[in-house]
Symmetry: C2
Subunit: 583 residues, 2 copies
């Protein structure tokens, strides 16, 4: 070893020990007679002291060391006269007796500090330097810890981690696949898995009743904020379970993580809410319930007063923003602009200011008298001093817009603190979604999701009304996991594929192996997959999953550090029996 | 839950409990008045009883159940009159009161028994049924347990598991890459990693001094026995360590696995042997030391007696096979045929029978008198009753052939039991291998391996003589892991690339990011990667890694169950800007 101790472990009780440390020069302070150096490694920082009087040549050597040089020092642990209570090693310093430069360093292109001066692009190119910064280091340590505790929990619960293949088969349903040309089978391709879905179902059929895998998955999607072409799932499946059993087991995992990693105890079960409730109250299927401010419908109260916008709307609803009755014209205009942004696409925003004096002023005073506005306020449970924000229009899009507005108000009022965690389950998702453009149904979760037994007869008559045994776990407005009870019967699976517009031949070619397997004693089963990157990001309080991935790709799906994707040789193309064909 | 208990846990103390079990019908015995059914799940088998007198209709239902039906039963635990001490649940049985068929099953195409009647091909196609068999199930359970304990060990030792990317850059050095066309960057490709080598080195440069990852790697190789296009490594790297520290740490991991998984304690350090010693004594760099029978050189003793084969040979050596002096002509002919097989390619085999009476008879009696043969016998440490097997020729190929012959004799004499484990380290590998065909050196380990400090000056004069700080761990004749101390200096790395025939431009294009990173404070570091599939196979006593992989590919790199690789759509090809080009 190049060291007897790391840079984070020496304490006052180690004083007078001879030690060897190795690490990077974090910073250096030359005070003339003395030179102080902060030596850094993964475990912390230890102060080194070089004294001109005691050893001038050594001190002169130390003065020459630049930032990020890698050095090894031998010396003696000494009590500091000037202790630093902010550092775990702040009680001691090392009087250095021997110094070895293990490697020099050019001056890094940005500072290796918690708040760096480097822009996103340069830090991605020099990711190995960015990873030296403490915030990123702590994120990767957290990620390790979480993965470890996930595995601990599942091991305790008799789950088996089983690796499923990465070179699998392309299936056009869902997102685009990344494909891999086969050299040995010219003209044929593997695909990288978007999830191990069919394999974990086959494992259930094989009798491995509790499966887990922390596994890389791949999606060749167009650029969207905070997506990565490769991402990590905690992929899980269980047999002989009902939905309730699954919710309990995986809620248990998340509680275990909060307890062991963040020392946060959830003694109550997570709230459970249906998809319909979530949409009606929060305008989204992933509500942030760190704060209230639910959406309330006032369609019937508000209609028929001659105001065209509301009279012609299928739905009118609003939220009550506590204590904001004094919002200025400018603030209200900002909010109107906010909901009119193309991402939200609302036509406008109405407001009612419920003054602390009990007065009611609105943007629709022309059509509504105070006593009518009072009915709105009562319905939305407003108090004097509150601000009502109202929208009207087609039901679902209005609810969604109100949901976005609610989040924005939560941000403005600091109601979404990063160190408060509010998980919940959203249940009873619709089985199918109608796609107006493709003129057909798509599976809301995936084609293997089981409809609710009570709704099976609706499959033939009103497929859009069928609810699925599907569930999402949501934390702080982010979907961190989703799953379903699966179909385990060949006929029902065939019916699903046909509803999704598959011909029998297509279904057979793509998923024949699974339907075939259903004939040989498939047990009832279901599961869930958690987005591990997102879960870590939430625990870390980071907005972007990039900050919890060691080597992420940029928004153009490039790794700018290693410069990939890149060209391959003509020889490689020939061996793979493919040609570049840019049109 | 569809059960209160699993099929492996009920014992005599559970008698009279009401229970619900779910599982598969393993077998059924209809004795007229009684029907007995073995119900199976992952945890074991429990006997169910249906009594015609007690409930005729239920018993009739039970009689109809076929093999591999999935059923749920409710009943009462009862003490068996006829106990089965071979089964953990053999003291009890379930008097069934209610029976629900959860799913029917066609008759499986092979028996789900420890010794099945199904051939390799059909079992691969129906892998989900093959995985129900106990030997495969136990292998996957073992694999889970080993992965879990590997992570435990490294977590205890402050390693961090960090995920490195799967979509990386193609580098022609080494085996062939699998590549992935980029849709967003037309004409460009990702490659799947043959190992995370450069990324783990970047992590060392980033300061993560103890890295581990259990990770899928990919090699597009031509068919070879027991290789898989995707395989799993335990990939590890450490900073601020010397070779000795690495050997200790990873020997510790293997000992931890043997202790926790197989309850085998290794109290002594694993033997350490140089590459040269291994080649001289065992004719291989991965010696099986479960048995002795070392190779001994007798070149100088044997030469000059007029026997052309030996006189013209650079090397003569042999092994002593204990107690086999009575081998018949047929047996000796078999051995001669064995070494003449193209895989070994020897020209012939000489023998000396050292009779129990002290007589010495050989296949070269024409040239060697008994007193001369006695010198051979003494050199090879033979005793009366032993058989000497001798080969002569070019040194390395003769040693290799003798090594193969030694293993064959080990097999014939049952000296290689699967439940005995003999790990060792092989050290001091050559840095470079000369390739006669390509007329250039190749890296024996990989281009990042550090030469021994003492040998660095030979790099310019006799590169073939340079030894590397490289090491392999070998168990029972199989290389299970290999690694090296890495180069952490840009100039030395450049020199290595130039020795390997890279132009500066090529080196820069492919590995510029790493050499660039060396300029920013790269610490001394080194690591190792274990072939996890192989390690599990050895622990499981399996010859093939396929038997420890849930969904392996066949020798043509196909998954015959899901039928992949397969064709993709014209639309996909167009989006990826590639064309099929079969010549």
């Amino acid at each position: 070893m190049y060291r007897t101790h790391n840079c984070g472990e020496l304490r006052i009780q180690d004083v007078s020990k001879s030690v060897v440390l190795s690490g990077w020069i974090q910073r250096s302070r030359d005070l003339g007679g003395m030179t102080f150096i902060d030596l850094r490694d993964r475990y912390g920082i230890t102060q080194l002291v070089f004294n001109m009087d005691a050893n001038a040549s050594l001190c002169n050597e130390a003065r020459k060391l630049g930032r990020e040089y890698v050095v090894q020092v031998e010396g003696t642990v000494t009590e500091r006269s000037n202790k630093n209570p902010k550092m775990p090693t702040g009680d001691i310093e090392i009087i250095v007796e021997k110094l070895t430069v293990l490697n020099a360093s050019l001056t890094p292109p940005f500072t290796i500090e918690n708040e760096t001066d480097g822009g996103e692009e340069i830090r991605m190119k020099y990711r190995y330097l960015d990873l030296r910064r403490e915030p990123l280091k702590n994120n990767l340590l957290l990620r390790h810890r979480m993965a470890f505790e996930v595995r601990n929990y599942f091991n305790m619960n008799q789950f088996i981690e089983i690796e499923t293949p990465v070179l699998i088969k392309s299936t056009p349903e869902g997102a685009r696949d990344f494909v891999v040309p086969s050299r040995v089978n010219p003209g044929q391709f593997y695909a990288l898995p978007q999830s191990p879905q069919t394999f974990k179902q086959l494992l259930m059929i094989a009798g491995y009743d509790r499966y887990v895998q922390i596994v890389k998955c791949f999606r060749d999607e167009d650029l969207r904020a905070d997506r990565q072409p490769e991402f990590t799932q905690i992929d899980c499946e269980m047999s002989f379970v009902h939905q309730q059993d699954i919710l309990d087991m995986f809620e248990g995992m998340v509680k275990h993580l909060f307890k062991t990693v963040k020392n946060i105890e959830f003694s109550e079960p997570f709230p459970r809410m249906t998809y319909d409730e979530a949409m009606e109250q929060y305008g989204t299927d992933k509500p942030d319930i760190r704060f209230g401010m639910p959406i309330t419908e006032i369609t019937s109260i508000a209609k028929g007063k001659g105001f065209g916008v509301i009279d012609s709307a299928a739905y009118t609803g609003g939220i009550c923003v506590h204590g904001c009755s004094e919002y200025s014209r400018k603030q209200l205009d900002e909010l109107t602009e906010y909901v009119k942004r193309p991402q939200i696409g609302a036509k406008g925003l109405l407001y009612v200011k419920y003054g602390t004096d009990g007065s009611l002023k609105s943007s629709v005073d022309k059509f509504y008298q105070p006593d009518e506005l009072k009915k709105w306020a009562d319905a939305i449970k407003a108090q004097p001093g509150d601000l009502l924000l109202i929208m009207a229009g087609e039901k679902i899009s209005t609810l969604k817009a109100l949901g976005e507005l609610r989040l924005e108000m939560g941000n403005r009022l600091n109601l979404r603190p990063k160190d408060v965690f509010k998980p919940l389950w959203v249940l009873d998702f619709p089985l199918l979604e109608w796609d107006e453009e493709a003129k057909r149904y798509f599976a809301m979760h995936h084609p293997f999701t089981s409809p609710k037994t009570d709704d099976i007869e609706l499959l033939d008559t009103q497929p859009g009304k069928v609810r699925a045994n599907a569930y999402d776990m949501v934390i702080n407005g982010t979907e961190v996991g989703g799953g379903s009870i699966r179909i385990h019967n060949e006929d029902l699976q065939k019916k699903m594929f046909s509803l999704l517009g598959f011909t029998d031949e297509e279904a057979q070619r793509q998923f024949g192996f699974l339907m075939h397997a259903f004939r040989y004693g498939a047990p009832p089963h279901g599961g869930i997959a958690f987005g591990f990157d997102r879960l870590v990001a939430i625990f870390a309080g980071e907005d972007s999953i990039r900050d919890v991935i060691a080597f992420p790709k940029n928004n153009a799906a490039r790794d700018v550090m290693i410069d990939t994707p890149s060209e391959i040789t003509a020889e490689q193309l020939k061996e793979l029996s493919i040609k570049i064909d840019i049109r």
